[in-house]
Symmetry: C2
Subunit: 338 residues, 2 copies
């Protein structure tokens, strides 16, 4: 690297509920610098945006890149965002509401900024650089506290009305099932999210059926994290394994419906739970899909594990910022009317 870097650079920014992660990429999307910081959403949106700006400036300083060498900044943010306007409508984890983040950052850094949902950013990253490289249609599914989903269609993030969509976690799967955080009952999240599975496992531990897990994590859901689950299975807690396999199969059953609707080229499974237990999820989800999708679609099934880990979101956000620059020029041509 030269003393003061020139050329063109992209920033990918992952705005998480607890931490922020920013990466500076060169023109070939190779990482040049990385920075992490706590989010502290509870300090409010104004302080939050200041923390973001501060982190981004440090990132540029690390690599000795001046602001005028930035092509664009891409931000993945939790919750529903307005991609056209670059506004974070609601970020429940942060307590923010209607924050015009694109406008604020564009003013500060003097370059184009694109905002998208964080799950979409991760799926877009996997589609451009990871497990779904080259796919015309890629579906990403990330089971965690909830179950995030995203769809990339012909190089674009698929957007429903209000930029909302792919609420895979809220597919109704159990009639009159357990209450879901969204206000309905029996959503997929109530049977296949890490939170739902942890609760089943905590019950098993309480009953004495998961001795290893009980020893290392107790029965507090906050302590039953993905890594602990993998460890308990490794140590021989068969009941833990059974509950997780049931959850993975429930995920596969619900995904069969999604495949019958969208028949994506590639389905990418990722997130903490899948990273901790990759083979378990891959085999159960694939097996269930093979048994459940329309017979004519079985040969076209292509399920893969995410490859980029934490970098999927920042790579995707940066690449989406670049795609957005192209879109601004060609969007009207794409969406032609009669």
């Amino acid at each position: 690297m030269t003393a003061v870097a020139d050329g063109k650079y992209w920033v990918g920014f992952d705005l998480g509920g607890t931490k922020m992660y920013a990466v500076l990429f060169d023109a070939q999307f190779r990482p040049v610098a990385r920075r992490r910081k706590k989010t502290r959403g509870n300090e409010g949106a104004e302080a939050g945006v200041e923390r973001i700006s501060h982190l981004l400036q440090k990132l540029l300083d690390d690599a000795q890149v001046r602001r005028e060498h930035l092509e664009a900044i891409g931000v993945g943010a939790p919750g529903p965002v307005d991609m056209e306007e670059g506004v974070i409508h609601e970020a429940p984890n942060l307590g923010w509401k209607d924050v015009p983040l694109r406008e604020l950052l564009e003013k500060e850094f003097g370059c184009p900024v694109a905002i998208c949902n964080d799950v979409d950013a991760g799926v877009y990253g996997e589609c451009r650089f990871g497990a779904a490289r080259g796919a015309r249609t890629a579906l990403g599914v990330f089971p965690g506290t909830g179950i995030g989903g995203g769809l990339i269609y012909e190089g674009q993030i698929f957007r429903g009305r209000n930029s909302s969509c792919l609420e895979i976690g809220h597919l109704p799967v159990v009639p009159n099932g357990a209450p879901c955080g969204c206000g309905r009952r029996g959503c997929l999240e109530t049977v296949a999210s890490r939170l739902a599975l942890s609760a089943e496992i905590a019950k098993a531990a309480y009953r004495g059926q998961a001795p290893h897990l009980l020893r290392v994590a107790g029965t507090d859901l906050a302590n039953i994290r993905s890594g602990v689950l993998a460890e308990a299975i490794e140590a021989g807690d068969r009941v833990v394994e059974g509950i997780l396999r049931d959850g993975a199969r429930a995920l596969g059953t619900a995904l069969a419906g999604v495949v019958n609707l969208l028949l994506p080229d590639t389905i990418v499974l990722g997130g903490g739970l899948v990273e901790a237990l990759p083979e378990l999820f891959l085999s159960e989800v694939t097996g269930e899909l093979q048994r459940r999708v329309m017979p004519a679609f079985v040969a076209a099934l292509n399920v893969k594990l995410a490859e980029l880990g934490d970098d999927a979101g920042v790579l995707g956000a940066a690449a989406w910022a670049r795609q957005s620059l192209t879109n601004r020029g060609s969007r009207t041509a794409v969406f032609s009317t009669t």
Copy 2:
């Protein structure tokens, strides 16, 4: 009309299992001539293509339009088609397999030809000229013998891998449910298609619970058509009404999942069953969606009845042919790669 019409014309062609329907449109997509004919798919693909060519020539003759004034021909065909190549892969109702219809018709008529699935053509027609006019994302659902579905996204027909998708009728809804024509069990078609509902109603008639229906249609599924069902309800067969309302609600429940995935601007309900009982379907499906979709999505719900009837398919096919001409020019720009 002048003795020999000039200007520019479009043809929309609906290739059905039992009959063909062709309409000639002027440059403003106003109908200029119409022709219908039996399909006779069992005579083979070669004879079938000849019948199509013959019908199209008669259509042109009716309006005294010469072939060189044709802008393009759009064809909606049953079953999976390769939209890129213009090949009908498999039309089970016709017994055709891998028919390169686009190439054959382009050679015959000397103008561009576009082939799409017939349900997609109908949804595209409603999206361009009917109930979903102006929608960025439109979902069409047409319950009939099966349950057809189509999605229009930003002015384009949504295509999964192999051009296949939106198999709404094969969403799995009943674990270990009744056998479905696709080879799986418990698909939406097994509880909400006209065929499934007719079978329930035939049972009720056999038991003496649907006296009017029994009188006019008996217990043969082939005679229990949409019009007869509406008539039986009108005449007071409460059990028939109950079975149809249950079916419409099952459709709504399944659609709630689709809405949580895609959140379309407009959902269009059409097809013979809905045309016969529009208010029943509209109210039950809307009610079920309001109870089942994510609470945040309820305000965005927009369910409408199809407006174009039989003309949706021909209008959609002709308009899709025009869109395809635009796509050939801009497709590479839309699907940009890294």
